[in-house]
């Protein structure tokens, strides 16, 4: 029942991954016994209904949470053995996150929000400003650099979030419903932007979405239901668009 595609250069290898939350007397099995391999440079889409465990899986891939059982190897390293500080460094230098709610800091300008991702790096203030300016330019927001998020449209805010995610040139981009809060046209633009930017950089991208159009463009689609990955030959139509 598990999907495991063997490729020569896997970046992620997941073996028997489970994540259980205690909620009072109940245990919630958000992810159940997932085996998965993701290759370097792959564009992978995970689809499935709400509550199917997609976001939890993405958080486990990003080291934002630790699995209850199983092993996640990133570039051959067991993530469970990494200390909190090492996980932070991994997120800083290697992983980029994009959230459905954008998660920008409301009191900072677009440029400052991008610089937040650069703050832990040993860069001069000038280098940080320049890099943030260049990143915002690359997502088409050069003229909106000094606006706070509340003065930006949803699409513009997500562009800022993409610029922030790309700030440290991560090898992996993890996007949790990046178009979930946007209208279809803007959402399409955002996905297009993500795809073109990552293609230039040869990044590995994992996107969670309900959007069938995006799923159709992916190199590989994974479907989740009740915390489990469904077999590759499972009928996709049953799960797409059922949010």
């Amino acid at each position: 029942m598990n999907v495991a595609t063997l490729k020569p250069q896997p970046i992620y290898e997941l073996h028997g991954i489970s994540k259980t939350y205690d909620q009072g007397a109940n245990e919630i099995h958000a992810v159940r016994d997932v085996d998965l391999t993701i290759d370097e440079g792959e564009f992978l889409v995970v689809v499935g209904p709400s509550g199917s465990g997609k976001t939890t899986l993405l958080q486990l891939l990003g080291g934002l949470d630790r699995p209850t059982a199983g092993e996640i190897r990133f570039e051959g390293r067991d993530m469970a053995r990494l200390k909190d500080g090492e996980l932070s460094d991994l997120r800083l230098r290697t992983l980029g996150f994009i959230f459905q709610q954008f998660n920008l800091i409301p009191t900072l300008t677009a440029a400052q929000n991008v610089e937040v991702a650069l703050a832990p790096r040993k860069l001069s203030a000038h280098a940080r400003h320049e890099r943030a300016r260049w990143l915002l330019e690359s997502v088409g927001l050069a003229t909106r650099a000094h606006h706070v998020p509340s003065k930006l449209s949803g699409g513009e805010q997500q562009r800022v979030a993409i610029a922030r995610a790309l700030a440290n040139e991560p090898r992996v981009l993890l996007a949790d419903e990046p178009n979930g809060n946007l209208d279809s046209t803007t959402g399409e633009e955002i996905i297009q932007l993500l795809m073109s930017l990552s293609a230039e950089r040869r990044q590995t991208i994992v996107v969670i979405t309900h959007d069938t159009a995006i799923a159709a463009r992916a190199q590989r689609q994974l479907r989740m239901r009740d915390g489990e990955l469904l077999p590759a030959d499972h009928e996709a139509v049953a799960f797409l668009g059922t949010s």
């Binding site: 958080q59 934002l64 949470d65 909190d84």
Partner: protein, 255 residues
């Protein structure tokens, strides 16, 4: 009753030759008559119960009082100073009371500064848990998140403390400018018509207790320092609590 009227005391008629005003706060008799006549009327010839004595100078009052006490066994001597002390003593008590009240208010104010700074900082950090979770997701280490929150709290404490001190100084200035003055007056106690004797010879005048709000630089510094410490400690505690959360838990946090 007017001058020229007659009144009868002990079957003896007297003609009113003058009217006296009762002094404020002083003791006055209903009727003043010649001592010899009063002694005859009351059957106490040659006896008095109160004698007013005036010293030639204020320096002699103490010695004179002792001398009288020794001369007239069993007599009770009350000097003008005793009377004045009784009045001003109660005013000193009032002043002490206002000072104690001020000190109590200062302590309450300082505690309030500390508690408000702490609670506001904790509440602010709790509201920002998702934001702090985002910073961790972006690769910020725990200590950097704590440092950021603590630094912000320190700055807010400094600005809030400075603003509070300014408001406090302005408030104190207003209190001093508009607060009422407690005034105690000891009036001329006996009518001048009776010459040098009577309570008129006792201290006349007034003492004022001004209700003011003194501004103490030490107190202001202490209040600002407490606000800073409150912000700093709660910033560090709140920041650490938020930063220790797994990013996934922090991101799930609902404001």
């Amino acid at each position: 009753m007017k001058v020229g009227d007659t009144i009868t005391l002990g079957k003896k008629k007297f003609t009113v030759i003058g009217l006296a005003t009762t002094p404020l706060g002083g003791q006055a008799s209903d009727i003043y008559v010649k001592l010899s006549q009063l002694q005859a009327l009351s059957g106490r010839a040659g006896r008095v119960n109160t004698v007013y004595v005036r010293a030639k100078s204020s320096q002699q009052v103490g010695a004179l009082a002792r001398h009288i006490t020794q001369t007239f066994t069993g007599s009770s001597v009350t000097t003008a100073k005793d009377l004045a002390d009784r009045v001003s003593g109660s005013l000193v008590d009032a002043k002490n009371l206002t000072n104690k009240l001020g000190t109590a208010l200062e302590i309450v104010g300082l505690l309030a500064a500390f508690l408000i700074a702490s609670l506001l900082t904790l509440a602010s950090v709790t509201k920002r848990i998702r934001e702090l979770g985002t910073l961790k997701a972006l690769g910020w280490r725990q200590w950097r998140v704590v440092r950021q929150v603590t630094g912000e709290s320190l700055l807010q404490g400094l600005l809030g403390g400075a603003l509070g001190a300014l408001v406090g100084i302005a408030g104190a200035a207003l209190v001093t400018a508009f607060a009422p003055t407690l005034k105690a007056t000891v009036a001329q106690a006996a009518p001048l018509a009776f010459g040098p004797f009577g309570q008129g010879a006792v201290n006349a005048g007034s003492t004022a207790v001004k209700l003011d709000a003194p501004v103490s630089l030490g107190l202001i510094a202490l209040a600002v320092a407490l606000a800073l410490v409150g912000g700093l400690v709660s910033g560090a505690v709140g920041g650490l609590r938020a930063a220790r959360l797994r990013p996934a838990d922090a991101l799930r946090h609902i404001d």
